[in-house]
């Protein structure tokens, strides 16, 4: 079965399961979905917000998918995103540069911050064969507590203890004309960063010798050694790029969708990135589409709540069910095979 068909079926199943849950709790699924979609796409402002919501998901999804493609399971996108966002915020709050240059430096800082956070597990994997799932999770918490300490100590807001100072307007990805185009939405340059990242990663994976190398190492480390590829360097480099992408998600989130960095919050986009990558079959364009789908769900949910009597907790469960089905699309294939077998058997009996 074609992979993208599998993903679509998974989404369909998720929507059906969500509809069942709505029906079971005494709500009209048709109405629920109507408002869910309207909430995400009803007017330019909402479309803009959907794109903005999807932005960090595109980037974390890309981060996880890239690691997957090169044989690594980067479960630390959350920490890399947080640390990348932190580096960008620190630059934004500390440097005074012309806007274009400042934003460029912030984006670079975010990329490198996230990348460094992922290089540590990459190095441990390459050198000591420490499994990256364990070390990236641990790095999540290292990022969490580092930010928890450094933000209040050096970048404390004037009144709020739990947030950094707000970034000056020049250090934010917001652009008035863009916001105006989407009628006051908080869409920002982060979306363009994400689109560029999708294109660059697609190009890198499919068209370059570097992509060839990294994928080869991911598929078969021994054969890569045999072929003369520097395997350890490739593992570290894969994690570097994957972490950098998650770091860009941090830039888009904290300097685009938000204007300051909160402590004590692990960005959920890091984990959602795994689901986005799975649903997007680890292909850059697939990730882009699946992140947009998640964006609609997340940004339409509130409107569904507001317009119907579906309580927020049920709405959360519906979204979770859809994601769950989407992420377990691998099961769909099994089901498909089983059905096929059964049909063949029935046909045989009928003869």
């Amino acid at each position: 079965m074609n992979n993208s068909v599998k993903s679509l079926v998974a989404v369909l199943f998720g929507l059906i399961a969500g509809a069942l849950l709505m029906a079971l709790t005494g709500h009209d699924p048709v109405e629920g979905y109507k408002y869910l979609i309207q909430g995400g796409l009803k007017n330019p402002e909402r479309i803009g917000n959907t794109l903005a919501t999807a932005t960090p998901l595109i980037l974390t999804g890309l981060s996880v998918a890239f690691a997957f493609r090169t044989g690594l399971f980067n479960i630390g996108a959350a920490g890399q995103m947080l640390f990348g966002g932190f580096c960008a915020t620190a630059v934004g709050l500390s440097l005074e540069l012309p806007r274009a240059l400042l934003l460029l430096v912030m984006v670079l800082a975010g990329f490198i911050g996230g990348a460094l956070w992922a290089v540590v597990p990459g190095f441990l994997k390459a050198k000591y064969n420490v499994h990256e799932v364990v070390s990236t999770i641990m790095m999540n918490w290292t990022a969490y507590w580092t930010v928890y300490y450094v933000i209040p100590a050096y970048f404390k807001g004037t009144s709020l203890e739990t947030e950094s100072r707000q970034l000056p307007a020049d250090a934010m990805l917001h652009q008035q004309w863009l916001s105006d185009m989407f009628q006051g939405s908080y869409i920002n340059f982060g979306f363009f960063i994400a689109v560029i990242a999708v294109l660059v990663v697609a190009f890198l994976i499919n068209k370059t010798t570097l992509g060839y190398e990294l994928k080869a190492v991911g598929f078969n480390r021994h054969a890569s050694e045999y072929a003369g590829i520097a395997v350890k360097r490739s593992i570290v480099l894969s994690m570097f790029i994957s972490g950098g992408l998650a770091g860009l998600a941090g830039v888009a989130q904290y300097a685009g969708n938000a204007s300051s960095l909160q402590i004590g919050v692990m960005p959920s986009q890091g984990f959602d990135g795994i689901a986005v990558a799975l649903l997007g079959i680890n292909a850059p364009v697939g990730v882009f589409v699946s992140a947009l789908f998640f964006g609609i769900l997340y940004s339409g949910r509130g409107f569904m709540n507001a317009m119907t009597e579906i309580p927020p907790e049920i709405a959360d469960s519906i979204i979770a069910i859809i994601i769950y089905f989407a992420a377990t699309s691998i099961l769909i294939e099994r089901l498909y095979h089983k059905l096929k077998l059964r049909r063949a058997a029935n046909k045989k009996q009928g003869e």
């Binding site: 479960i75 969708n257 984990f271 409107f303 507001a306 317009m307 009597e309 992420a327 691998i330």
Partner: protein
């Protein structure tokens, strides 16, 4: 290999699930047309802060005020839960409420300051109530801007803390008290300072000997680290503290848990709750609770009062209100099963003195601890 990947995926999913499990289903239906005749499309919306609608604190207090108003005024009401805690998350839910026709929007907590700052300009035909904060642009030293369609509400936490301090001193009479705060932010600090002043007042005027040592005044640094709360409380109790005033959300829950364990093992220790009546949280057996009393901010009153004012056409738009003893905005819970009538009587007297201006409770640190 394939199996390995699968198990990793399921691990990843369970992590995702964990990350998402802060939300438990509300025990009661959330919205709903509250009565037979909603008045002229009056619809009240609320956006929750971090945490659930039954958080025993700001969200719950606000929501209960709205529900109480519904009993009297019969309007449509609803709360929405933002996906995150950024301004964008809050703004989105405000937009959702507005688009759905809820044009009276209550936001509990200082985190809404920037979102309301923008919303009050964008939705001039809607009204906003923000509790514990004032709208501002969020830039450093930005001045508060309360527009005509917005009311900002503060509480005199120090007075609430003062009353709790007096009650505590009167009950314990002779011993040690401690304080555990969450983050070192103004509302928590004012509780702390007020509590210290209240204890001092009782020691001077009412013949008690309750001591607060410097090492027993602590800000944990978060509102959610339950384990740390237990640990801090255990240290304090080990140092001979009899009662801890915990103004610390989840950290306070940890302190309460520690107290329950100790009381069940025969110790005589107490916790003083915060924000709302926390008596039920401290129940360890039958209806016996380790919560001596609670320093209450009547958030529900604030929400109720604003809705009532709007119904009566007297919405105090553009104002910043402080709820204190004079308008019954703070106090101790209505029922205090752990306090004797005598103690309650004396606390009442003190309350009236604050009300009358005879006792002034400072909202500044002065020479108080932390």
């Amino acid at each position: 290999m394939k199996k390995g990947v699968l198990s990793l995926i399921s691990l990843a999913l369970s992590v995702t699930m964990l990350a998402g499990c802060g939300s438990k289903p509300a025990s009661e239906p959330s919205g709903g047309a509250g009565g037979e005749t909603p008045k002229a499309n009056f619809m009240v919306g609320m956006v929750t802060d971090a945490g659930t609608i039954d958080d025993k604190s700001f969200n719950q207090g606000t929501y209960e005020g709205i529900k109480k108003a519904n009993e009297d005024f019969k309007m449509k009401y609803k709360y929405l839960k933002p996906a995150g805690q950024t301004e964008a998350d809050y703004s989105k839910e405000i937009t959702n409420l507005y688009d759905a026709g809820y044009k009276f929007i209550v936001t509990p907590g200082f985190k809404f300051e920037t979102a309301v700052f923008k919303a009050q300009d964008k939705y001039t035909d809607a009204k906003f109530v923000i509790i514990d904060g004032t709208p501002n642009s969020g830039e450093p030293d930005a001045p508060p801007v309360v527009k005509e369609n917005t009311v900002s509400i503060y509480f005199a936490e120090q007075e609430s803390g003062f009353l709790a301090g007096v009650a505590t001193a009167l009950h314990v009479k002779d011993g040690q008290a401690g304080f555990i705060g969450g983050l070192e932010i103004p509302p928590v600090q004012k509780f702390n300072w007020g509590f210290q002043q209240g204890v001092a007042y009782a020691n001077e005027n009412l013949g008690t000997k309750l001591v607060i040592n410097k090492e027993n005044v602590v800000y944990q640094g978060s509102f959610d680290d339950v384990a740390a709360g237990s640990q801090l409380a255990a240290q304090m109790y080990d140092r001979g503290v009899n009662v801890i005033f915990a103004a610390a959300g989840g950290v306070g829950v940890g302190a309460i848990n520690e107290a329950k364990t100790r009381v069940q093992n025969g110790s005589d220790v107490w916790v003083v709750g915060v924000d709302v009546d926390q008596y039920q949280d401290g129940v360890y057996e039958g209806d016996k609770s380790v919560i001596l009393t609670s320093a209450v901010k009547k958030i529900d009153h604030a929400a109720y009062d604003m809705i009532k004012a709007e119904m009566e056409g007297k919405f105090p738009g553009g104002q910043t209100l402080t709820l204190d003893a004079t308008n019954d905005g703070i106090g101790l819970p209505e029922n205090n099963p752990n306090l004797s009538d005598d103690v309650l009587k004396q606390v009442d007297e003190v309350f009236n003195k604050i009300k009358g201006g005879e006792i002034k409770v400072s909202a500044e640190q002065g020479d108080l601890i932390k």
